[in-house]
């Protein structure tokens, strides 16, 4: 019934989804190609409306692509209906069957696959144990809390042992504390089951914490794929740097390049070394944007940027300083708070900013 694949990597090839037609046509997914490796926690990250859900629904089979292919373990599954794909979904709203008990919800997929009663019972109790819901097995979904419903939805999707688990913002309805707990839980479940997780979120923090790899989406396209560190430290696009973490954007001119890094001159006149994304060719003399993360800059006696401290905001673990640069731009700087640090300059004081070696990054506009 389901294709017999041993590898569970997903290959998405030039996939597009257009809603509507004529003047109303809207490209929700725009020529996406991406490889999602086996046994990975892979996150689709992007702002609301960028096409994450649509991409996930294409993988699940709820939507048919306008063009392109989806392969699972090397096998083309583009034309298969959802009930023939070894892929299960955890819905944002959980979508638990209200007329069935927790145990019957978890066993639903197994029943549909025609497994024996004993086998189903065994797997259901195993799954309920996995998400720590054994004691509520006979309850109805309406009789358990949102966090518990979330666990049941997970167990239900995991029970048939899918090759791939799709999760569409599964934690967004939970309160902050529960969300943190469930994040750990998800990470553990992925490691324990070895199932490829494709996780959708618009929460960059969540993406950084959980993922093996992140694909950053914008306007139906994937802008960059990489590890959390790779994406955070070396954003290739201005949008990526802006969306993930806080960023300072500095205008600069390329002085010299050597493949993966460039010497750039800032408006202050100082020259610094900045990493160059492999996808970006910056000619000498061209103007570029350089990203510097606030925590990668420090106050110094002799810096590369000059400005005036406007205000300091105390956050407990760190302090954020807003500095007005000589060219009028605002620069954010973050300092870890430790005991015995030198006191901060008073607002209005003239300061110099140093940028850590290797911390500057050229990005595409």
């Amino acid at each position: 019934m389901t294709p017999n694949v041993t590898q569970s990597d997903i290959e998405i090839i030039d996939l597009s989804k257009i809603f509507g037609s004529g003047d109303e046509a809207f490209k929700a997914v725009d020529h996406i190609s991406v490889h999602i490796p086996d046994n990975e926690f892979f996150t689709l990250l992007g702002p609301s409306g960028c096409g994450k859900t649509t991409l996930l629904r294409l993988i699940a089979g709820f939507e048919q692509p306008s063009s392109g292919w989806i392969k699972l373990g090397g096998q083309d599954i583009t034309a298969l209906s959802p009930n023939h794909r070894p892929v299960n979904t955890v819905f944002q709203s959980y979508a638990l069957f209200p007329h069935m008990s927790v145990a019957d919800n978890v066993g639903f997929g197994l029943r549909m696959l025609g497994q024996s009663r004993r086998q189903i019972q065994h797997t259901v109790s195993e799954m309920l144990a996995l998400v720590e819901m054994e004691s509520l097995a006979s309850r109805r979904p309406a009789q358990i809390s949102g966090g518990q419903q979330q666990r049941v939805a997970l167990a239900r999707a995991l029970a048939p042992r899918p090759r791939v688990l799709l999760l569409d913002e599964p934690l967004s309805a939970l309160d902050l504390k529960l969300r943190k707990t469930m994040q750990t839980e998800l990470k553990r479940l992925q490691a324990e089951t070895g199932i490829t997780f494709v996780f959708v979120t618009h929460d960059q923090q969540e993406a950084l914490t959980l993922s093996d790899q992140i694909a950053v989406m914008h306007n139906g396209q994937i802008l960059q794929v990489g590890t959390p560190q790779g994406i955070y430290n070396h954003p290739a696009e201005r949008f990526v740097a802006d969306f993930i973490g806080d960023s300072n954007f500095l205008s600069a001119t390329v002085v010299q390049t050597n493949g993966h890094s460039a010497q750039v001159q800032l408006r202050s006149g100082a020259a610094i070394r900045a990493s160059l994304p492999s996808t970006l060719a910056a000619a000498v003399g061209s103007s570029v944007t350089v990203v510097v993360r606030p925590e990668q800059a420090t106050l110094a006696d002799q810096g590369v940027l000059q400005g005036t401290l406007e205000q300091s905001l105390y956050f407990g673990t760190d302090t954020q300083m807003q500095i007005r640069l000589a060219d009028g731009e605002l620069f954010n700087l973050r300092r870890q708070n430790t005991i015995g640090q030198p006191a901060l300059p008073a607002p209005g004081a003239a300061v110099q900013i140093a940028i850590a070696e290797g911390a500057a990054q050229v990005v595409r506009h």
């Binding site: 019934m1 389901t2 699940a60 089979g61 709820f62 209906s81 959802p82 009930n83 023939h84 892929v87 299960n88 979904t89 819905f91 709203s93 979508a95 638990l96 069957f97 209200p98 007329h99 069935m100 008990s101 019957d104 639903f108 997929g109 029943r111 549909m112 696959l113 009663r117 189903i120 239900r156 999707a157 048939p160």
Partner: protein, 300 residues
Amino acid sequence: MRALNHWATLSRWVLCTPALLILLLAASGPLLIVLVYSFLSPGAYGGVVWQFSTEGWFRVFFSRDIFDGSVAPAQAHLQIFWRSVRLALLTTFFAALLGFPTAWFIATRPAGTRELWLFLVTIPFWTNLVIRTFAIQEVIRNQGLINSALLNSGLINQPIQMLYTDFAILVGMTYVFLPLMVLPLYASMEKLDGRLLEAAYDLYASRARVLWHVIVPLVKPGFIAGSILVFIPAIGAYVTPRILGGGRNLMLGNLIELQFGQGRNWPLGAALALTLLVIVLVALLIYIRLVMRDPERDHG
């Protein structure tokens, strides 16, 4: 606090008084009269004579030979009871069978056009029941639409006798009561969360099994409401069986009407009416017991 509650309760009762009065006068009053009449004696020209008698009730179930006074079960009555129950059940069944896809069709139209479809479903209500029933008669009688078409096409040589059969009554009642099934079914389908269907489809259910394991159980309240709304008027129907059954295939409604009219036996008519009420109540009780059983309990 207590005083406030007291006031709230009191004002609630006061506000309910008109409704309660209407219920008392319009529902319980006539019922009481029927109950009393069923224990009186028939007048020679209709009406009742104020003299206690159980003859009305006796005649519901037994007939007395007019010559030798011997008693036998009232075969004709029992047959009519059975026909009424059977036809009402079949009507409910076919209304559900036709109503389900109809309601599903309407519920899956884009928002904004559903109202139009619902409106179309209610259009038959604008025409008098008698006229609609005669229209059906035109369609199914021996020289009617269906038979002429079949005869002309050479598929049959003899017209098929459809009018004045139980089949005709069934067709007529299903047609008349279908909207009463469609509307509550639609109401529960409209509330159905489409993501539940996707979830089932995602969990390896075929379309047929999504229908059986998710849609049907979730629209059960609509089924229950629709079945009750169809069954009750169907078992007591008398216009449709009279026109389409041709006075040969009586149903309970016709039998009751007969006692108050030509039969001039009001106590028997009253007793029959109460029997109908009991049948409906018993049927409802059985039905509710059946549908309230948990369907997800007994599958493996």
